[in-house]
Amino acid sequence: MMDKKNPFTPRVPHKYIGQYTPRMDAYDKAIGIIKFSEDITTKRQFPDLLYMKILKSPYPHAKIKSVDTSKAEALPGVVGILKYTDPEIAGMKMTAASWTDGTATQNRIRGWAHGNEDRKILGDHAHLVGDELGVAIAAETLETAEEALKLLDVEWEVLPFAIKVEDAIKPDAPIFHPEINPDNNYLPCTEFTGPDTFVDRGDVDRAFAEADLVIENECTYGNAQQCALDYWNCLVDWGRDGKITVISDSYAADQTRMHFHDMLDVPLSKIRAISPYEGGQHGRGDTGDQPFFIVTALMAKKTGRPVKYRQTRKEHFHDTTTSMEAKIKIGAKKDGTITALDYDMLANDGAYCDLGIAGIKFVPKEWAEVCIGQTPNVRMTGKRVYTNIIPDSCMRSIGNVQMAYITGLAMDDLAENLGIDPIEMAIKNIGCHNVSNPNPCVEEIIRAGAREIGWEKRHATGQGDWFEGTKKRGMGFAVNNTWHTENHEYRRGPTQVMIKLNPDGTVILDAPTVEVGTGTNNCAVNACAETLGVRPEDVHWIAVQDTQTGLKDQVQTDSAVSYILSEAVYQCAMDLKSKLLDKVANKLNRKPEELDIDEGRVFVKASPEIGMTIKEYFDLIDIYTEDTLAPLTCYYNRPLSAEDFGTAYMATFVEVEVDTETGEAKVLKMAVASDGGTVLYPPGAEGQLVGGQCQGLGEGLYEQMIYDEATGIPLNFNFVDYHFPTMADFPEIEPIPMEIYKGRGEFGCSGMGEGSPCCTPRAIENAVYNAIGVRINSTPITPMKVLEALGKDGE
């Protein structure tokens, strides 16, 4: 293994925060004690559970003309059948992904997809191969349910379809969602999405006319998949008392119950959503884009038994990142100052609206403020087109990975044309709207990454040495903002946390969020222990999110949760500490400000030998005369603020080796520098910077979903034919967590996890160009594309 040489040094030393300590749940995860939803919904725990399967369309675009269910009904073991013509199904309103916008779950109005409700629960109109529709069957065993599906006699009206955008926008193309857009397959603009040209800053056309150099480029971003190993699953029990319990691997318990409430018109007091640990989120969609939730509930109601639904690996190829074709025009002065940028993006939205707006409008709009915030003239146009493949959604790095890919191409090309080092060009131009360039964070992270990769050894395009006769090496990099956490906090609404101090000095912390692997639990516990003055191992973090007993959970998106929770926990712990010190001060005949707490012991700062442990204090309380409730509990509501400190930045550097005979591009080494604001839990932060490359390398080099163009049938929806990186593929990666930026609050963290892969595909492409002197300009960089680019595909 490579010698690791960039250990993180905290800006402000803390006792627990910023230390290299084991993950708090590592042992439980390693020895298999952690329970995922799949582990608490087995036949052993629910002996009378039924397994449900839903009919899938074999066609990319079709309507059900009729279904005869009689043979399926007659199969022994089949208990319940729901059909699209049943009144409770037929009368159901349309839905969409995330009407609650994924994070703020109070009302329908703020929904991202509001106005684009294009999903019908168990409808009759199929929009892609594998679309679940028409009929659901519940049976005593999974095998019986699967067998019963085969006995359905379905008559289909097969309709014309389109896999590619170019086919879907032809004048004679079939209309896929006439209920959304009766005229063509473009997704209409809504009040929330805004117009197609969603950024128009300065005077772009004039700036191009006045620029010393204008370059135009085109590229295509591909269609990778989230590939969580814990597939969507849920168990719904709809009791005879009218109460619904749903146990699922949704990353948002509160959102789940709101969705059930909205679709089923059941009072919230009668809906209990439980989300335990989740086996990887990676940005996969929301409750609303998963019709199976509501179908499972209706089946549970119909059969009077708990019903379980779980996707297979193939079924879990269900949504994707935003695949787009992009044109970019860049204008600059001779000194490398970028004066104008014009983006024209066209996304293949797939079968449904879902959360695709994130990739093509929502994130880019924010990105224009925080990443190219100092460029005076910017125009962005984005359009989405319905086709008949799996829909785009909110995969990790959404929007940023596309913007970094498109912009990184234009800037690399511009730098080469002007004879300027691309890292100097980035330092000159990348930054936030409210911090003047050069942005200190941009400069530091780029220099740190460049040092690590050995950027000074980078040769001119295609001018490097040959290795082993056929191989060439090159270096590339890309820079981007990290996630804009303050903005995301503002969009979510206020946060609530709770800390309960037990009479023995241990602590129960409700910093509610579903643990999906990001380590936000460690961050919240560290913030609590540090502030309150107790040991992290004495803080119990409530892991299972239960809407009946718990606080409203923070949805695991946007890399915002560690930031939001740590700040709320800090304030809550300060309040609790203040209450405790008031009380202990009485016992010690001191003033509260003379006291502090360390490792669960209150002591006099000037004479540390004087003091008592928290347990000793509680033992002294006379509950009949003192107004002290044990345990001592504090709730804190963190208020909203529109204050904006901007964002931090990250940069990824790679060195690749390209075999010009086989076309294989291989990453030899990576350096990922990222500014976390305050790094609450360094092993978790480094784990994000290293681990995110599983997706970054995958999107850059391997991952793509392939459809048969003649039939629309997906060809590689399994882990053998859809390859994501394994241990054997992983290069040496140096994570460089830094603390330069500081946002609002005590710690002022920046998001680190979501953005980790976002620079990688562009960095790889630029490195491949540096190695072989030709551009690939579409992800992933497969050997075939490399050989084509080298003009060797005919050999």
Binding site: M1, A30, I31, R44, L229, G280, V516, G687, V690, P725
Partner: protein
């Protein structure tokens, strides 16, 4: 299902002829013998993964792809790393199965995964869904090869998928175990 304690391992044949489905299978799981009536306690086509999770509640073993592509369901059969989703339960009649629940509370591989946090690698798990499978694959590797090279570890564990990308930390954790084992062997000399 009947649970019986037996003291010795029945050295049975792992292959079950297709035309001879037995009435009863006996499997030693985590040190304890279990008997299952075929067709009553388990269906003849049931996989070992299904048996462990749904019948015995041993949910430490995960099922992800269910088609032998991801390694999440890895258990030890007679000490060898085996994909339990691809193993018919009947075929391990008379054999010894170890799941993650059967490991000692202070098992060195479990402890190495738990402690892994040094600079430069991240932690040996994030979401943790693949982790028991990695632990069991690492156990299987070290049973066969107590002193593996980095290449041998990468090769042995490349059938275990981790979308969180914790591979470098997992590799490091396995190296730490191997190193400790080497030191122990050298100390014993």
């Amino acid at each position: 299902m009947v649970e019986k304690q037996k003291s010795v391992l029945n050295d049975g044949d792992a292959s079950v002829p297709g035309d001879a489905v037995p009435d009863m299978v006996r499997i030693r799981i985590n040190g304890k013998w279990y008997e299952f009536r075929v067709g009553i306690d388990i269906e003849p086509q049931a996989t070992l993964a299904y048996l462990l999770r749904e019948k015995l509640g041993l949910t430490g073993t995960k099922i992800s792809c269910d088609t032998g592509e991801c390694g999440a369901c890895t258990v030890l059969v007679d000490g060898k790393a085996t994909l339990s989703c691809m193993t018919v339960a009947l075929s391990v009649d008379g054999h010894e199965v170890t799941t993650v629940e059967g490991l000692a509370m202070d098992d060195p591989v479990v402890m190495a995964f738990s402690h892994q946090c040094e600079h430069g690698y991240g932690t040996a798990m994030q979401c943790g869904y693949c982790t028991p499978g990695f632990v069991m694959s690492a156990k299987g590797l070290l049973n066969e090869n107590p002193d593996p090279t980095e290449e041998e570890i990468r090769h042995a564990l490349s059938g275990n998928l981790c979308r969180c990308g914790t591979y470098p930390a997992v590799l490091r954790a396995v190296q730490h175990v191997a190193e400790d084992m080497r030191n122990e062997r050298e100390g014993a000399k």
